[in-house]
């Protein structure tokens, strides 16, 4: 096979992985929403929290949409198979995000029909189920899903659909796989940790800061339990490998751990990532006035999740395995767009650093002045 094409497929898996990793970091918005009623003890504190995450929610939302769009453009067979098959789990995820999209803007506005509390509950539901369901869905990248793909169905005039889901629950069965849920809960608690660190950095309020630091301890403990359980299980389980000669998918013992050994750079990046997350958390807990934990933890999160995604797709690994029919599993090779499209998209991706630059610039400009009670009471545009 054309080596440039293989390179492009791997490059695009890297882009998808990076978008996924950035999305997990940006789920701090959801984490913050899930803490709304427990961390914010009165209305003004809740307002500060809502305005803190509320000025960033569109980044999470946009990253989710771009993640979907980029997956569609680069690996359309995944888009086709997973969304059309695991229908209910994706519907549940989308539903969670739809109710978020209006809730920030509408919750404190007069005439909003449902009342402030309802929109805040919407935000909390998004905050809880968004990360859990996204994590659970990504868990199927390692544990498989129940589908078959037969491209020749296109020549069947009665039933030309090429992808079929083989479980009547259409994706909801993923929540009955304990290791998928483990990843979902790990993502959920990580989102809450990031939110706490973000509040400490972004809200100028002694009480919230103190409570957030205290809260970091149990959240971190729970995160570690679920994350380590998932990680250890993933590294010791059989993985979905591809025979580079025959392109057949087969089960290989310790496949994901082998991937790390065979790609030592990823191993190092994973260690750096985990260290970054833990450093950000621990220094925030132990150094009372330190507020930069979000950046260490955030970068660590991006690196860690990036490696997990890369391990799922690189090094002759089927990134979306079928447990119904191993040979229907999706690989970078059998599910990607054409060389021409990947090339065009790669030119577009050159603009990504420019996009990141202006996001950084605007983010910095807005966050120069931290959120405080005074701003909430000034009557400027607030949620």
């Amino acid at each position: 096979m054309d080596t440039t094409y293989i390179l492009l497929q791997n490059y695009w898996w890297f882009v998808i992985s990076l978008l996924g990793a950035l999305l997990v970091f940006l789920l701090f918005v959801q984490g913050g929403q899930s803490l709304l009623f427990s961390l914010g003890k009165n209305e003004i504190q809740q307002k500060m929290m809502l305005n803190s995450t509320g000025r960033k929610w569109e980044f999470t939302f946009t990253t989710l949409v771009t993640f979907g769009g980029a997956f569609f453009a680069s690996f359309p067979l995944f888009y086709s198979t997973s969304f059309g098959g695991a229908y209910w789990v994706w519907i549940a995820i989308l539903f969670c995000f739809v109710i978020q999209a209006v809730s920030y803007e509408y919750q404190s506005k007069k005439g909003n029909l449902l009342g402030k509390k309802t929109y805040q509950v919407f935000l909390m539901l998004n905050g809880i189920f968004g990360p859990v369901l996204l994590g659970t869905a990504v868990g199927t990248f390692f544990n498989g899903a129940e589908f078959t793909v037969n491209k020749m169905n296109l020549t069947d005039l009665g039933m030309p659909v090429i992808s079929s889901w083989n479980n009547p629950l259409h994706g909801l069965e993923a929540v009955f796989v304990v290791w998928n849920v483990c990843l979902g809960l790990a993502v959920f608690f990580l989102a809450r940790i990031q939110a706490l660190l973000y509040f400490i950095n972004n809200i100028n309020d002694v009480e919230i800061g103190k409570r957030a630091r205290k809260r970091l301890i149990p959240e971190t403990a729970l995160f570690l339990v679920f994350f380590l359980a998932f990680l250890i299980h993933t590294f010791v389980q059989d993985g979905f490998a591809i025979n580079p000669e025959t392109k057949e998918v087969f089960m290989q013992p310790y496949k994901y751990f082998t991937n790390l050994i065979e790609m030592p750079v990823l191993f190092v990046v994973l260690l750096v990532g985990v260290a970054g997350v833990l450093f950000g958390i621990l220094k925030t807990i132990f150094a009372g006035s330190w507020k930069k934990g979000i950046w260490f933890s955030g970068v660590g999160t991006v690196l860690t999740v990036l490696v997990l995604f890369l391990c799922a797709g690189w090094n002759h690994t089927a990134y979306y395995p079928s447990v119904t029919d191993l040979q229907s599993s999706l690989t970078l090779e059998n599910s990607s767009s054409s060389k021409f499209t990947l090339t065009v998209m790669s030119y577009v991706s050159i603009l990504v650093p420019f996009v990141l630059w202006y996001i950084f610039y605007a983010w910095k400009a807005l966050d120069l002045r931290k959120i405080d009670q005074k701003e909430m009471e000034e009557g400027a545009h607030t949620y």
Binding site: A70, F72, P76, Y79, G84, V102, V161, S338, V348
Partner: protein, 520 residues
């Protein structure tokens, strides 16, 4: 067991997509139109330093924000529905269709998401210049988003810049610029965005008229009408111009849609354009010889002129398109629907034979089947069509929607001209009758906008990709019950959110702009 796609699944999948698209399209036009008007007002503030304009811009921004949020919510579902409900489509053309969506995310959504935060929260945090740039970049991002999604939509109506690859069993992009710069994409983009500006113009003029009726915020209302009406008039005239080129392209590439728009069953030379008409409900089938109209008024030869730029040109009707046999503009004789269906089936069978020959390593046979496939590929989608009458889109909906859109377009030109004249002559403040008309024109702008989409999308049925893939072969393999459930789920959710949005808008308008603090 031989399995067939349930036709009710196709209909419910269409209904769900139509529901989401129509709800989404309630909010997008206002975003695109109002976004420019508020940016113009902020620019005046930047140039003059007059805080009146800052407060005016802030008022419209508040309404923009309320509308924007629900537009995002419905847009999210729309994007993912391509995979959720149209999974076969997503594979078959994802190589081409996915790229504009990804570019939309990378280049447009992030621009919107980044700068809208600065626009709303940055008034006292960033410089005036940076804030103004953010306001313009927000609407630029929204417009770029429209560009890419309309490129994708235009490609579905006019699949350019691609070829079918039998080895990967899908269509693949071969010319990116042919996709992006196709004449259909360009005119669709300008027509849609400019028509959205009309919605923005009517909205601003209408809301401002309400203030005049209530004898409140007079300076603000008159200033807004001045800008809104001028902006709206320019937009309406340009929309009419781009509408003409859109109609010309429809005639060239989607003649069945044009026939449906006109209720034209029997074509001919020098065909007239129906200005107004009432369709005959007694007409049951395309070839039953029943007069399609109870009543209609035509402008002689005008349809021929619009369709071919020639007063005497031939325009085929529905009967001609189904029966074939007429001479196309390129001199070839048109195939009948039955011939096209037969050639489509040949193409699909050739694909199956090609793949089998490849599997058997019979390269000679594979080459022959490939030639058969390629020579019939232009009719590939017809192979999935069961009845030739399935090729006729819903006539009534398309015909009436087209007339509503065009008539309202003409009405808006008149409305904006009158509003501008009255404003210039300082008579707007006293013209209660005109203020009422402007106020009640707001829903008309939305009706015109929705009607436009109905013409574009209903008129192209049964095709997901023109001639290449019908909707019946595009769906996901789901139970009808699942799609029905989500249809009603989204219907309920969107309706609740829509009612909430209108409620918030009304309250925000009643509160009015805040002019207490006139400091810069």
């Amino acid at each position: 067991m031989v399995e067939n796609i349930d036709t009710s699944l196709i209909d419910w999948s269409r209904a769900q997509f139509a529901l989401t698209a129509m709800y989404h399209w309630l909010f997008v036009p206002l975003t695109l139109g109002l976004g420019v008007i508020q940016a113009i007002m902020e620019t005046i503030y930047y140039k003059t330093g007059d805080a009146f304009w800052k407060n005016a811009a802030k008022f419209w921004m508040k309404l923009f924000g309320i509308n924007f949020a629900i537009g995002i919510a419905t847009g999210l579902i729309l994007e993912f529905e391509f995979g959720l409900n149209w999974s076969n489509y997503s594979w078959f053309v994802g190589d081409i269709f996915g790229a504009p969506l990804a570019i939309e995310g990378i280049l447009a959504f992030f621009m919107e998401a980044t700068f809208i935060a600065v626009m709303f929260f940055g008034w006292d945090k960033v410089s005036k210049r940076f804030h103004l740039a953010s306001t313009w970049l927000t609407i630029t991002g929204a417009t770029l988003s429209a560009l890419w999604i309309l490129v994708a939509n235009a490609w579905m109506q006019y699949p350019a810049g691609m070829h079918f690859n039998p080895d990967s069993v899908r269509n693949e992009m071969s010319d990116f610029w042919a996709v992006v710069l196709s004449p259909v994409a360009l005119s669709k983009f300008f027509h849609t965005v400019l028509s959205s500006w009309i919605v923005g113009g009517v909205f601003v003029v209408g809301v401002s008229s309400w203030f005049l009726l209530k004898k409140r915020e007079i300076r603000f209302a008159l200033a807004s009408i001045k800008i809104g009406a001028a902006f709206g008039l320019v937009a309406t005239l340009l929309t009419a111009f781009t509408g003409d080129s859109s109609a010309y392209q429809v005639a060239q590439i989607q003649p069945m849609k044009l026939a449906a728009m006109e209720g034209l069953y029997e074509g001919g030379n020098g065909v007239g354009l129906v200005t107004v008409g009432v369709l005959n409900p007694a007409k049951q089938t395309y070839d039953d010889k029943v007069n399609p109209f109870l009543f209609n008024i035509q402008i002689p030869k005008l349809l021929s002129f619009f369709a071919e730029r020639d007063l005497n040109a031939y325009v085929p009707g529905i009967i001609n398109l189904i029966d074939g046999g007429f001479t196309e503009s390129d001199g070839t004789v048109a195939l009948s629907a039955e011939e096209k269906i037969a050639r489509g089936k040949m193409a699909i069978k050739a694909l199956a034979d090609y793949k089998q020959a490849k599997k058997d390593k019979d390269e000679l046979a594979a080459k022959e089947y490939r030639v058969t496939l390629e020579s019939n590929f232009n009719y590939f989608g017809y192979g999935y069509v069961r009845e030739k009458t399935d090729l006729i889109p819903p006539i009534g909906l398309t015909f009436y929607s087209f007339r509503i859109m065009v008539i309202l377009g003409g009405y808006f030109i008149l409305l904006f001209i009158v509003a501008m004249i009255m404003e210039n002559k300082k008579k707007m403040e006293k013209a209660t009758w005109l203020q009422w008309i402007c106020l009640w024109s707001i829903p008309l702008a939305y009706i015109a906008s929705q009607a436009g989409w109905i013409v574009a999308e209903v008129g192209r049925q049964p095709w997901a990709i023109q001639d290449i893939l019908p909707v019946s072969a595009s769906v996901s393999h789901l139970s009808t019950g699942s799609v029905q459930t989500t249809f009603f789920l989204f219907l309920g959710l969107f309706t609740i959110l829509f009612v909430a949005e209108v409620g918030i808008m009304v309250k925000a308008i009643k509160k009015g702009p805040q002019f207490e603090n006139l400091s810069n």
